[in-house]
Symmetry: C2
Subunit: 316 residues, 2 copies
């Protein structure tokens, strides 16, 4: 059994070697360093590198399982995986904690008016009259009700907010006060003070949100995008913010990444931009390897993967 | 029964009049508008104005209960209240939600490095390599374990932090993983990544924290003061931040308020200052009136107050 990682896993490498002494592990810093004969022989691949495409997989005839060390699997060639019956797992859930922290950093930065207060501090102004709005009883609407939104919704409920979720069928989910089918979203927006996108990128979610969506939201809406930048065209988001269809946005993901320095988003004063870092964590490799180890144990036993299996037909 | 308020209570005035038709309510915008004969006759006083001092109370011979519409009662003349057997209630707990929101706004602003990220946004720098620390498994130490710290500790636990509390005897409190007597605090600081003061001002807490306290903390400590500014001399806090005995502070309360524009705090780059606004809320009057109504019902029945009674010997 040959397991190849297209990145170095630091202290997780000896952890894996110690836990699975009969498995042959090879760790490379970059896909370009992978010898062709190793690619030909490998059974399992650890990566989240964009070089893993149709040609790469065709040159790995023995490959049975890709352990994707990120959550978004949208760049992978699903048709090829299906044809070859290659199983796919992702690191979904690993980022839940960091994403939740960024979400509440954004929301509280906005509601507690920290930027304006900091500007007053710089000017040595002591404005004791400021009364900031509370997040209590505010309604937060999540696009997506999977592991990450559930974790975020749990914190939202504890801090006193009402949680609403949108998913394919409107099925109930933990920590959500209400859920609706995403097809009915334009009737649901009016219930929300905050709209958060945490959807994965799939054929169904790509450019899901149009100008009509933003027009259907409350004008005081705070938008947070922590999912994928392709949920809406950048121009649509820029227009909605410029026209005040919505009040403000905190964006961590963009239609084109890295964000170009001449992006119109940089010209707006009602947007806060973070450079797709909300899922980054010093412990991500450890957490993803926790999932991988559980799966490898089962895979060696009976060929089955038990955690974070991606349904290739569904795309997440 | 004559109830006098030294401030206008907006829509809460008709609420009280409707609920208690046999009580005579008088609402004034400012203590200076109170006629002497009304002061002579009043049974109950609603206020949190500094003019309520020994002389004021001596001119209110009929006064039996002061309903203080703030949490901190430290400015009231306790000896006079005791001698006259005047009961005292406060608005403790009313501010728990807002204070909790500010606390996590501060902590997440710091941990998610929002200020540095915002400066990069202004410079159109897309720094995808930034990895921010997580609050997960961080230890947060609260000075005080009353209603407000308990609410804050509940949110801290949900977001994945470990909570430690200091109180008079070290007794257990809801939502605290560990509690210790405040007298042992200098041995407890080393367990903490974040230290939060939420203590009321009393003779025992005034200038409780000295340079020794800050030296006993971890150098990476984040200090948050949402209690009272007199917990430490301003000069001690300034020195501790300047000498890097602690890493950074978020301060909402100050030894002298309003903070003078020549305060040395303004010269530091590792401090974030908010102008004693963390408890302010548009709904504060309503929430304080909820407590007052419950107490008034009981007071009319049998002379007893049932909620938020201040123990005058203890001072909170």
């Amino acid at each position: 059994m040959l397991v190849v990682s297209l990145m170095r896993l630091d202290d997780q490498e000896t952890r894996l070697q110690d836990a699975f002494p009969h498995v042959d592990f090879k760790f490379y810093k970059h896909p370009s360093q992978l010898p062709e004969e190793v690619q030909q022989q490998m059974d399992v691949l650890i990566s989240y590198h964009p070089e893993v495409d149709v040609a790469f997989i065709e040159n790995a005839p023995n490959l049975k399982w890709i352990a994707w060390y990120a959550t978004g699997v949208n760049r992978l060639p699903f048709e090829t995986l299906k044809k070859r019956e290659i199983q796919l797992t992702n690191a979904g859930g690993v980022h839940a904690q960091q994403l939740t922290e960024f979400l509440f950093a954004y929301i509280l930065d906005d509601y507690k008016e920290l930027k304006a207060i900091y500007e007053e501090q710089q000017a040595r102004i002591y404005n004791h009259k400021r009364v900031t709005p509370s997040v209590k009883d505010q309604s937060i609407l999540f696009l997506g009700t999977g592991k990450i939104p559930q974790r975020a919704a749990q914190v939202a409920q504890t801090i006193g907010m009402k949680t609403i979720g949108l998913n394919t069928t409107g099925h109930a989910a933990d920590h959500f006060n209400e859920t609706y089918p995403i097809s009915e979203r334009q009737h649901v927006y009016k219930k929300a003070d905050i709209v958060v996108n945490l959807l994965p990128e799939t054929a169904d979610t790509r450019y899901l949100l149009t100008a009509e969506d933003f027009k259907a939201m409350n004008q005081h809406t705070l938008l947070v995008n922590l999912g994928r930048g392709t949920i809406a065209k950048e121009a649509v988001i820029v227009d909605s913010l410029k026209n005040k269809s919505i009040r403000k946005a905190y964006l961590d993901v963009f239609e084109q990444e890295p964000l170009a320095s001449d992006s119109k988003l940089y010209q707006l004063d009602n947007v806060f931009l973070t450079p797709h870092i909300s899922g980054s964590h010093v412990d991500n490799k450890k957490l993803a390897t926790d999932i991988f180890s559980n799966n490898l144990k089962s895979f060696l036993n009976n060929g089955n993967l038990i955690e974070n299996k991606v349904n290739i037909d569904r795309g997440y």
